[in-house]
């Protein structure tokens, strides 16, 4: 056989072997067998010596042309097989993605503290600074500084837990007002949030302990309209676009006094008391009530999540049933 004939035969065999390859491993064998350093096709170059000098370049080029052709075909076939094999490999590694994931304990805030935090965040964004004050309050701060006349029926609304002659559990976070005004002069933008206590029989809507957010603003030129706008703004942040109601009410520490409510479903949800800080209080704090005016409110926090989530029994908040708490 002439070298040229041998070349033709070997090249044909190589192509045949390539065509028969069923895996990338088969391709690798074909590669070694024909194109490797000791491969059959590569080996044909050694036959160059047996050729006439003028035939040598032509034969060499011919061998290389076959090599290139086979290399290209091999790459294409390899890619094809690799893709098939990859699909098979990963298919074998597939899982049932509908099975549950591995367990993690998931915690959460209590609905009341979560609500308190939401109120805080909203009021801070509106320019009010927060601080906490004692739960055990002096009578002086809980009542006297709040313009309660001695022996007034207004006390009947606030049956108190007394600890000694002078101290009680605060009946309203409004007790913070004099603390603030003792420490600071106007302009004042202050707020507090916390527990309050009144002797009440516990039922679905009453508890001896409840939570209040109190706000106090004292400045030049503050008006009842400002109070209304401020309340409306807070309500929008917390509840979205709901109707608000301002209605006259009486609290010794404000004049004019307001009961604030929001429209919730088909009824008015009373959120608390508000009004313009009574001039008697400003004067007793050494603040000129002609130059400065103030507004204040004390809103019930517990009612907010009750309304929002349709919770019908306030006792659920302190029962702390995990099946209840995990709903929020």
């Amino acid at each position: 056989m002439t070298p040229q004939e041998t070349l033709t035969r070997v090249a044909a065999e190589a192509k045949d072997a390539l065509a028969r390859a069923g895996s990338t491993a088969d391709i690798d064998s074909v590669d070694v067998e024909y194109l490797g350093r000791k491969g059959q096709l590569t080996g044909l170059l050694r036959l160059v010596g047996s050729l006439a000098p003028e035939e040598r370049p032509v034969f060499g080029q011919s061998v290389n042309a076959h090599k290139d052709e086979i290399t290209e075909a091999m790459a294409a076939k390899r890619a094809e097989l690799a893709a098939t094999e990859r699909i098979a490999r990963l298919a074998a590694d597939a899982v049932d993605v509908t099975l549950p994931g591995k367990g993690h304990w998931v915690g959460g805030w209590h609905p009341i503290t979560r609500q308190m935090q939401a109120v805080k965040t909203a009021l801070i964004s509106m320019g009010y600074s927060f601080a906490e004050y004692p739960d055990i309050e002096h009578y002086h701060y809980n009542f006297e500084t709040l313009n309660y006349p001695p022996d007034h029926p207004a006390f009947d609304e606030q049956m108190s837990f007394y600890i000694d002659d002078n101290h009680l559990l605060r009946t309203q976070t409004t007790a913070f007002q004099a603390h603030v005004m003792e420490a600071r002069k106007p302009p004042i933008r202050a707020a507090t949030i916390g527990k309050c206590y009144r002797y009440e029989a516990v039922d679905a809507t009453h508890s001896h302990t409840f939570h209040q957010v109190d706000l106090l603003a004292v400045d030049e030129g503050l008006t009842l309209a400002d109070l209304k706008g401020t309340f409306a703004h807070l309500v929008r942040i917390l509840f979205g676009e709901v109707e608000i109601r301002f209605r006259p009410d009486f609290f010794p520490f404000v004049e004019p006094g307001v009961e604030v409510a929001i429209r919730w479903g088909d009824r008015w949800l009373e959120l608390g008391g508000a009004g313009m800080v009574h001039p008697n209080i400003l004067e007793s704090m050494g603040i000129d009530s002609e130059r400065y005016t103030g507004f204040a409110w004390g809103l019930g926090v517990d009612r907010m999540p009750m309304a929002k989530y349709g919770i019908d029994d306030i006792r659920l908040f302190v029962e702390n049933d995990l099946r209840f708490l995990r709903q929020f």
């Binding site: 837990f161 002797y199 209304k228």
Partner: protein, 688 residues
């Protein structure tokens, strides 16, 4: 107060429906809480604010409605019959202290016939919530409901010579009130007395002896104005509140006294055949006059944020029966005696706002300083705490600060417990000294609900007595955590991973401290009340005890917690949150990332079973070059056949790294030898 609507409409004519009228009153400040039905038709239930005693009557409410509706009131103070000396033949009154009783009036009605109370009056009384009793009592109640002035009818024949003395009681006086109870009267109680003894607690309740009954022929009828504070004190001291005292406490118009008296006398004549003795006693040495209050219209708008005209302002006040006289830029407003709540300019400003309607106020936002607004450090820290603990898979709970004493309270702390005076129940007897007892109640409650995996925390105040006279009560915020059930949630892949233990709780403490970027804690064995004596430790940071971590004493769980018998271990910790806040100073500095590799070496030693790992770690750390030691960790603890009885094997791993070079074996060997020798010498370790 319950007001039959038809009675109310007698004094105010309006085409509004009952609901519309109720809404109008509500928006004027007199809330109509509900409208119910009665034999006398619909009834308003009003919620009268404590400043508005004048709303405790039909006419007073009608007056408010007329003002709110801006329509006339169909009631006018009647012309009173002339004074007549005839009355002095029948009765005499002496008021000892006119400050407590500024006005006292009386009339005598003879030969009342005790006819049945007319049906219409009975219906009105019932609808208003009062039980018809007898024509005499019914008439006094009826007039009180109509006008707001309490009246008291005495059996004239039980008052010797018709003489009464209004005076404070002296020591040791008592009375049997008409509810049959004998009451000792504190000295100074204002009483209506005959010549010897009290026959009526002024403004509150009369006695049995002078009570009117079916046999009474003649009556002495009293109408008076008492000092509201005096009545309130008496009512509180005696624990006795009546329709009369309720009204007197809230101030009754002193000018109603003769009006109500004559109105009742007329009814006695009309309905009970009474012969009204001419004239009346009316002791009123210092008449209470209408108040004059100055009002600046400009101030009205400055407070309300409105631009009402002077006409709107003055008309608003006139609707309420106030008289407005203009002086320059200011008004002189005359306030009738039935509005004792109006004292200052600001009170009149509220009246204008009410009449114009709060619903018509504009909504504005105040301009001005909000810069620098924020939360105090505790508030921010508490938020971080809650985020960290919930991130660690714990559910927050929120319990009452008022709580009964618990078996899990350390008896040593009970002397410091803050207690409530005259507590009505154990649950309301005092304030919690620590958080854990409440949190354990939550655990027990959930276990009883068959919630087996409970991982909860609370952040809140605890309370203690202090020895400081100025600040006798200490409030301190704590964190408490309680865990029971499985270590990790059961899932199909992993199966059960075991139950929580001391180490679970301790891991959460460390995780919490790391999350809050607080220094690492050290743990020293400690026996805590209610806790397992071998599974509890004090948590120390920088030498300061910030709390403890422990498992509950299993016997205490069985004895003191109401839990199912299947309960497993309960692991807990309680920390002083304020101590943590004080430690949470962020002084972190950046450390360049390491350039050179680490070298790790393991060391296994055998020590007494009782030896503490903490000691091994401390001793090892004391002897190595700390600039080279990157980490020291425990790899495993082994107790069993392969070590001697009473011993355990502890495998630790030390990881070294130098900042400026690759460490040589020789350098690391030297460190390891030092550690090994130290452990052999100091804890009697032997190498495995």
């Amino acid at each position: 107060m319950k007001l039959p609507v038809e009675w109310l409409r007698e004094f105010v004519e309006t085409p509004l429906s009952d609901q519309e009228l109720a809404d109008k009153l509500t928006m004027a400040g007199l809330e109509v809480e509900e409208i119910t039905d009665s034999d006398d038709g619909p009834v308003f239930h009003t919620k009268v604010t404590p400043n508005r005693g004048d709303w405790l009557s039909i006419v007073g409410t009608a007056r408010e409605a007329a003002a709110a509706l801006d329509c006339p009131l169909n009631w006018q103070a009647p012309m009173l019959p002339e004074e007549d000396p005839d009355i002095t033949r029948w009765a005499g009154v002496l008021v000892v202290d006119p400050r407590l009783c500024p006005r006292y009036a009386g009339k005598v009605i003879r030969n009342v016939n005790h006819a049945p109370t007319p049906d219409w009056m009975q219906k009105r009384l019932l609808a208003a919530g009062m039980r018809p009793i007898d024509i005499v009592v019914d008439i006094t109640n009826y007039v009180m409901l109509e006008l707001g002035q309490p009246l008291h009818a005495f059996n004239y024949d039980a008052l010797p010579e018709g003489r009464v003395v209004v005076r404070p009681t002296t020591v040791g006086e008592s009375i049997i009130t008409l509810d049959g109870v004998e009451r000792a009267l504190p000295e100074g109680t204002l009483a209506i007395c005959d010549k010897d003894k009290p026959v009526c607690v002024a403004g509150v309740m009369g006695n049995a002896e002078t009570e009117v009954d079916q046999t009474t022929r003649h009556i002495f009828l009293e109408a008076a104005h008492f000092d509201p504070i005096s009545i309130r004190r008496t009512s509180k001291l005696l624990g006795l509140t009546t329709e009369a005292s309720y009204r007197f406490e809230r101030t009754v118009d002193p000018n109603l006294v003769p009006i109500a008296l004559e109105r009742a006398a007329d009814l006695f004549a009309d309905l009970a055949g009474g012969e009204v003795v001419l004239g009346r006693i009316d002791l009123y040495p210092q008449p209470i006059l209408p108040k004059e209050i100055a009002l600046r219209p400009s101030r009205v708008n400055a407070i309300l944020g409105t631009d009402h005209s002077n006409e709107v302002i003055s008309h608003s006040l006139e609707r309420l029966g106030l008289k407005v006289a203009e002086h320059d830029a200011s008004y002189q407003v005359t306030v009738p005696t039935y509005r004792s709540d109006l004292v200052k300019e600001i009170d009149l400003i509220e009246e204008v706002a009410r009449m114009v309607g709060y619903e018509n106020l504009p909504e504005t936002l105040p301009v001005g300083p909000g810069a620098g607004a924020g939360d105090e450090p505790w508030g921010i820290f508490a938020e971080n705490l809650r985020d960290a603990l919930t991130g660690l898979g714990l559910q927050e709970v929120f319990t009452h600060t008022l709580a009964a004493s618990s078996p899990f309270d350390d008896p040593k702390s009970q002397a410091q417990r803050v207690t409530i005076r005259q507590a009505l129940s154990a649950e309301l007897s005092g304030l919690r000294v620590t958080l854990l007892p409440n949190v354990l109640d939550v655990v027990a409650f959930n276990l009883r609900q068959r919630q087996g995996d409970v991982r909860v925390f609370e952040v809140g105040k605890t309370f203690r007595l202090s020895s400081d006279v100025v600040a006798p009560y200490l409030e301190r915020r704590h964190i408490a955590v309680a865990l029971t059930g499985r270590e990790t949630p059961r899932d199909w892949a992993s199966g059960d991973q075991g139950a929580v233990s001391y180490y679970t709780a301790k891991g959460i403490v460390d995780g919490l401290l790391a999350e809050l970027r607080l220094p690492k804690a050290e743990y020293t064995p400690e026996v805590v009340h209610g806790m397992h004596p071998g599974r509890g430790a004090a948590i120390m940071i920088d030498g300061q005890r910030i709390g403890y971590v422990a498992e509950l004493d299993p016997d205490a769980v069985k004895r003191d917690l109401d839990v199912p018998a299947s309960v497993g271990r309960i692991a807990v910790f309680e920390l002083d949150a304020e101590a943590l806040l004080a430690l949470a100073v962020d002084n972190r500095r950046y450390h360049p990332l390491p350039k050179y590799p680490t070298v790790s070496r393991d060391l296994a030693i055998v020590v007494d079973k009782a030896a503490l790992y903490g000691d091994i770690e401390r001793i090892a750390k004391a002897v190595v070059d700390r600039t080279l030691l990157e980490e020291l960790s425990v790899q495993s603890i082994y107790e069993g056949d392969r070590v001697a009885a009473g011993k355990k094997s502890v495998a630790i791993r030390l990881t070294f790294r130098a900042a400026d070079r690759t460490l040589t074996d020789a350098e690391v060997d030297a460190q390891m030898n030092a550690v090994e020798n130290s452990l052999i010498n100091q804890v009697g370790a032997s190498k495995r």
